[in-house]
């Protein structure tokens, strides 16, 4: 893809409440109404939250919309999530791709459609973020590259590649869920040329400080735009809480707080919209060129072998 990049455009980070879809049309309808709100304001790029694709497992919980993920899995007769996902995967994959391909084509919009958990041919499961183009095509996917203890327990595997998707609406890097806690990910993406990081997320531990240690921190460290789209409500036993936001370097934002726009609540549906202006981004970088300070010799001295030290210390896991 070598489309000419727009100099400025509007983007939306959608905060969506989790609800099981007993048929794919239910997820489509729900996402559609939110995307429509964004489109009404001239948005060209829409981001949806992490795990929004898991709503399609609702087929297994048809009569029990109040169940959380674990309960749905066991109600459907599986002993664990991984088995459930593996056997549901052909239907889950095609339903997910169909729903979001249709929506992006219908609105002629770039759609970072959150994530869905799918196996590869060997059965290894990945949390995968999708990016759809305005023709409904899959521009690309990004496997999550780091796992939380819970995701390990679920039996997920991690990817070992980080992709940049060059589009009219920026050079997009997808920072999937847990990856946001590992600064290596955003750094690699931005060194490769990403200028928009999209972060689908889902957390039960929202606070301002917790929010600041996630995408906010990465955007300030790397000076790009950031779309943070959060799932809220009841996928897990603990409800998810968070505030979706559109980030930029501090000097570009009114309160010097790094926020172009943010959700007002941490538990209801909202469409957060802001304009991304690349000339202004360039100006912010020129005024405070952080990457000029990078110390190449230091990184060459230590990376990647220094990571091997982790196992050498008794207090750490080998």
């Amino acid at each position: 893809m070598s489309d000419q990049m727009l100099e400025r455009f509007k983007a939306a980070a959608i905060q969506m409440r989790f609800a099981w879809a007993s048929v794919p049309a239910e997820l489509e309808g729900k996402a559609k109404s939110l995307i429509e709100t964004a489109i009404g304001q001239g948005v060209e790029l829409v981001a949806l939250p992490e795990h929004c694709g898991l709503a399609l497992l609702g087929i297994l919980a048809r009569t029990h919309p109040e169940l959380c993920l674990d309960e749905v899995v066991s109600a459907a007769g599986y002993t664990n999530l991984a088995d459930c996902l593996r056997s549901s995967s052909p239907a889950l994959k095609s339903a997910y791709e169909q729903v979001f391909s249709q929506l992006s084509a219908q609105f002629r919009v770039y759609l970072a459609a959150g994530t869905v958990i799918l196996p590869d041919k060997g059965g290894a499961l990945y949390n995968i973020a999708y990016l759809f183009g305005p023709e409904g095509q899959v521009i690309g996917t990004q496997r999550q590259t780091h796992l939380s203890p819970m995701e390990r327990q679920w039996g997920l595997s991690w990817g070992d590649r980080l992709m940049i998707f060059e589009t009219e609406v920026g050079k997009i890097g997808l920072v999937v869920g847990t990856d946001v806690y590992y600064p290596e990910v955003s750094r690699i993406l931005c060194l490769r040329g990403a200028n928009v990081l999209i972060h689908p997320t889902c957390t039960t531990a929202y606070s301002q400080a917790d929010w600041m240690r996630r995408l906010w921190r990465e955007i300030q460290a790397n000076q790009v735009f950031g779309l943070e789209s959060a799932l809220v409500g009841g996928l897990f036993e603990q409800p998810c809480h968070d505030k979706s936001a559109i980030h930029a370097p501090l000097s570009m934002t009114a309160g010097n707080d790094g926020l172009l726009a943010a959700a007002e609540t941490s538990d209801s549906e909202e469409v957060v919209i802001a304009e991304l202006d690349f000339d202004r981004l360039q100006q912010a970088i020129d005024e405070y060129p952080i990457y000029k300070v990078l110390n190449y010799r230091l990184y060459e001295r230590y990376f990647p072998k220094i990571y091997g030290l982790q196992g050498d210390r008794g207090e750490r896991r080998g």
Partner: protein
Amino acid sequence: MSKLKDWLMGKALSTMLWWKSRPSLVRRALAGRDFPRAPRPTGDTRRVGVVQLELHFITSAAGYAEKMYELTRQAVEDGAQLVIFPEDTGTHLLGLLPGVEELAKGTSMDEAIAQVAGQDIQVADVFKAVAPGARRIYEATFSTLAQGFGVHIVAGSILLPDKRGDLYNVGYFYGPDGRLIGTQKKTHLFIIEQEWGLACHDEIQVFDTPLGVIAFPICMDHTFFEPIRVAWLQGAEVIIDPSANPAPYDYWEQMRGVWGRVQESPAYGILCCMVGDFAGFTLRGRSGVYAPLEMTPNGDGVIAQAETVDREEILLADLDLAALRRFRQEQEPDFNLALYARYLPRIYEAYRRMEVEGRRVVHTQVNGEL
């Protein structure tokens, strides 16, 4: 070539500095003073005293020793076992240069120097000129204080040339016997320091002490995850940021530093700020003691912070090393070595090739080669 430059490089100045920086001046200034002993490290808790220091010119060895003595004594009297000073604690000693007060009136260091000395004098020249004297006073002062109080001291930093004449921003760490435990040179230079002609170092040190494993990369280093990750992977438990930020205080800007780094690399983080108005600079900052959110009472990653952003004060906090070690076992980062091996460090060099005449351009092509 201005006369002042000749003078800065000349014999008369170095003789004068040598005379003004005799270590005996430091010892004499501190002789007969009260030196309460810092508590020995026992149990799991270590108390740190963070000196939020004001920057101004000090014209004599005795004046410097007395100032640092007062602050160290206050911290030790309050039970500090580790006393921390901010970046550029050596800069007070520019006051050794006669006529240097003129610099304080300038609108910027560069302009002031140009006015006093002419265009061909660089900021680095002034620091190099004062270095032989400043170094002796700095070393004698903090070594004497560490030994006298039986306390560990992270003594901020001083601009010093190495044998080749390259100027570095160097931090010193003294043990309770007064001996130098080690130094850390700054590895990421603030943009103004690049313009001044400072050199940057490429090694990160950690020091295993009875107060935990300590690292103290300097100021701008904490804007980057890399040096802190390197310190952490070498075992750092207490990550200290001696800082001198020449800017008005801003909460959001400050939170881009060590607070964020210890969320990424779980450890105690200590920000120690220089404050004051000096040579055209407005130095502000709120010193703080930080930890991963889960380890702090309000869940905000803050254990303690200074009351002011512009005044001298001493911040005290207790670090529970056992709690940190437990936390790090429970919340062990799960590194993806295959991912890092694929991209690090090659991606940095690939990025550099993408720059356009040394400038990062947001519209340039994606790096497809990796």
